[in-house]
């Protein structure tokens, strides 16, 4: 069992719903990023560190613009990985990155780097199960958790094949589309979670379009947790780490409400 999974399972056993906030490395700027990351680590059960990339085709306007901003400030993939290395924190950190920076450095070397930098796992949104076998084995060799994505369009057969590769949690994509705010949680979220749940006992977290405490509460009626990205990034950029911290605290309260009533 990976360290990430062990940690999430113990949180689950204590009756908690899981909160996994996301922040792109280097935001709002290089000097303020450590404080922002601390605000996420203080509230999250695990934290995703986003790697800025030139061609973020899964990302909506908020995270795409944030990535351009980080790149302009000189935060490339290697510096981004280094910025998220924080050996003091007990909370597991995962890297969320597009595939080409991994391919470029080499899958083995990239996993070495993550391992040395104290990360617990990785999420690669543009690498489907058919293309990820070698990277998964590189990750497994170093105890890094693999977190695959399941989409609303994934067939039952695909869901089964995908969740079989998960060694951290399963990332259930709530809706078709790119990252960013939606007025309502998609009604498809429940069906995606149910399909994952049918195929695995691992934690299932819902992401994409989860940006309010209410949406988080709704999503975790069936799921084990939520991933929140764009809402956190926007708060960090517009109002700072403290505002992001109190937002995540309100999400945490909403999740605890679900946990205690279920």
């Amino acid at each position: 069992m990976t360290a990430l999974l062990e940690h999430l399972e113990s949180r689950r056993a204590e009756g908690h719903k899981l909160l996994v906030p996301y922040l792109m490395a280097g935001l709002p700027d290089a000097s303020s990023f450590p404080g922002a990351l601390d605000a996420l680590l203080a509230q999250g059960d695990a934290v995703e560190v986003g790697i800025p990339y030139s061609d973020p085709l899964m990302d909506g306007p908020v995270i795409a613009a944030a990535g351009e901003r980080a790149l302009r400030a000189g935060v490339g993939p290697l510096r981004a990985v280094a910025m998220g290395a924080e050996p003091d924190s007990e909370v597991p950190r995962l890297v969320m990155t597009y595939y080409n920076p991994i391919h470029h450095l080499g899958e083995d070397r990239f996993c070495d780097l993550l391992s040395r930098s104290g990360y617990s796992g990785l999420i690669v949104p543009d690498l489907p199960v058919e293309e990820s076998e070698n990277l998964r084995s590189c990750a497994a060799d170093r105890g890094l958790a693999w977190v695959p994505l399941v989409a609303p369009t994934s067939s039952a057969r695909r869901v089964e094949a995908i969740v079989a590769t998960a060694t951290g949690f399963v990332y259930a994509v709530s809706t078709l589309g790119v990252t960013g705010h939606r007025d309502q949680l998609s009604e498809r979220a429940g069906r995606v979670v149910a399909a994952c749940r049918e195929a695995t006992d691992l934690p299932v977290c819902v992401g994409i379009g989860v940006s309010t405490p209410e949406q988080a509460r709704a999503a975790t009626a069936a799921a084990d947790g939520v991933v929140i990205g764009s809402a956190v990034v926007q708060l960090i950029l517009e109002r700072g780490a403290e505002a992001a911290g109190s937002f995540l605290s309100s999400v945490r309260s909403a999740l605890d409400g679900v946990a205690s009533s279920s």
Binding site: D55, L71, N100, I102, D126, L149, T153, L176, V178
Partner: protein, 391 residues
């Protein structure tokens, strides 16, 4: 190479190709692959497409003896006149095939990306013909330099969406089209314009463009009584080159030469992904990519919007690796010069993209029979050329 280029079950041409896309698109790519394989082998689809290629696209396009240009080049040059196809470029071969397929798949909406605007116009044309709504993504840099084609697309009823992100050119237009497709995949078909993207797009687009090479081979034998010694085409994503090359894969004695955009020079800004790129993943496929030290995609540069792209189709990367095709490059300045030579020797105004292929032919000092893919006409480029020549 003795056999035709068929990718394996994962869509791999050797070590290139594949499917590197978000999970949300995997189902749609499977569906597209099945529908394409079914249509490709179906007599009704073939007959419908053949009819469209004749009556809508105006095929076959001629093979043209460029007598006065040949004198300048010092070789016998014949031109495959895709500039005479409807809408002014080879792109129509692909869009008619894909929109016909989309209708067969009961898709209700068409999207596309475009660089030079030729693929956008050809998609808008096919969508108008079949009465389907059409959205075309186009970088703002290209919107400015290919304004004529923006207006043409709008007249044809397409919505042109300017893309401001990144380098605001073809690469970013593809990103935006992919974002649309991820969102609307269940009722939308993405008509990709070149032999790029995740499997099955590179193979499907190549198959639909192979008619260029099949006609050219037959016409060369009729016109010249021999196969050409060299077949030359410009390469951005590489669809006109693959279409032309595929007609000659089995003719080992025919040399295949792709010409990339050297832009301001290979030591400066350019679009020569095969000459200067490294293996990487862009837009859903593994190929040769212009990229920086950490795997960030570089911004390409070319005076021609259609070659201004930091990647190339995986089949080209494979042809380069296997040695079956060779890749050269021509600068912006060389392309503009070759453009002028063709205008004045033959009375043909070519697009800036194939002007790169013409530039290579003018530069090389071989005295053989050379067949050049004249992939499109140059109306769209008059403003760029006028500025470049101070007219």
């Amino acid at each position: 190479m003795k056999t035709g280029p068929v990718p394996d079950g994962q869509g791999r041409f050797g070590e290139f190709g594949g499917r590197y896309v978000p999970e949300a698109l995997m189902g749609a790519l499977d569906e597209l692959e099945r529908a394409w394989e079914d249509a490709r082998d179906d007599a009704t689809y073939r007959a419908e497409l053949d009819d469209l290629l004749t009556t809508v696209a105006g095929r076959p396009t001629p093979l043209y003896e460029a007598t006065r240009f040949s004198e300048r080049a010092g070789a016998r040059v014949v031109l495959k006149r895709e500039d005479l196809a409807h809408t002014g470029a080879h792109k129509i071969n692909n869009t008619l095939g894909q929109v016909l397929l989309a209708r067969r798949m009961k898709k209700e909406r068409i999207i596309a990306e475009t660089g030079a605007g030729q693929h956008g116009v050809a998609t808008a044309t096919a969508a108008a013909y079949f009465g389907l709504p059409c959205v075309v993504y186009m970088g703002t840099v290209d919107v400015a330099r290919q304004h004529l084609n923006v207006v043409r697309m709008q007249m044809l009823g397409a919505e042109v969406v300017p893309v401001e992100t990144g380098s605001a050119t073809l690469k970013d237009a593809i990103n935006e089209a992919l974002r649309d497709w991820v969102t609307n995949v269940e009722h939308t078909h993405y008509v990709i314009g070149s032999v790029v993207g995740p499997h099955p797009f590179p193979e499907m687009v190549a198959s639909l463009q192979t008619i260029i090479g099949e006609e050219a081979r037959r016409q060369a034998l009729e016109l010249c009584g021999a196969l050409p010694a060299r077949v030359v085409a410009c390469v951005g994503g590489g669809s006109n080159a693959i279409g032309l090359f595929r007609g000659f894969y089995r003719d080992d004695e025919v040399r295949l030469i792709g010409v990339e955009a050297a832009g301001e020079g290979l030591e400066k800004r350019h679009g020569a992904s095969i000459t200067r790129g490294r293996p990487g993943v862009l837009h859903g496929a593994r190929s040769l990519i212009l990229q920086g030290d950490e795997g960030l995609i570089s911004e390409a540069h070319s005076i021609s919007a259609g070659l201004d792209y930091p990647g190339v189709g995986p089949e080209h990367a494979w042809l380069a690796a296997s040695g079956r095709a060779a890749y050269e490059s021509a600068t912006d300045a060389e392309a503009v010069e070759a453009f002028s030579v063709l205008c004045r020797t033959e009375g043909i105004i070519p697009a800036l993209e194939p002007s790169h292929a013409l530039a290579y032919v003018l530069r090389s000092d071989e005295e053989d029979l050379v067949l050049v893919g004249l992939s499109g006409r140059g109306d769209k480029d008059v403003a760029t050329i006028a500025e470049s020549l101070g007219l």
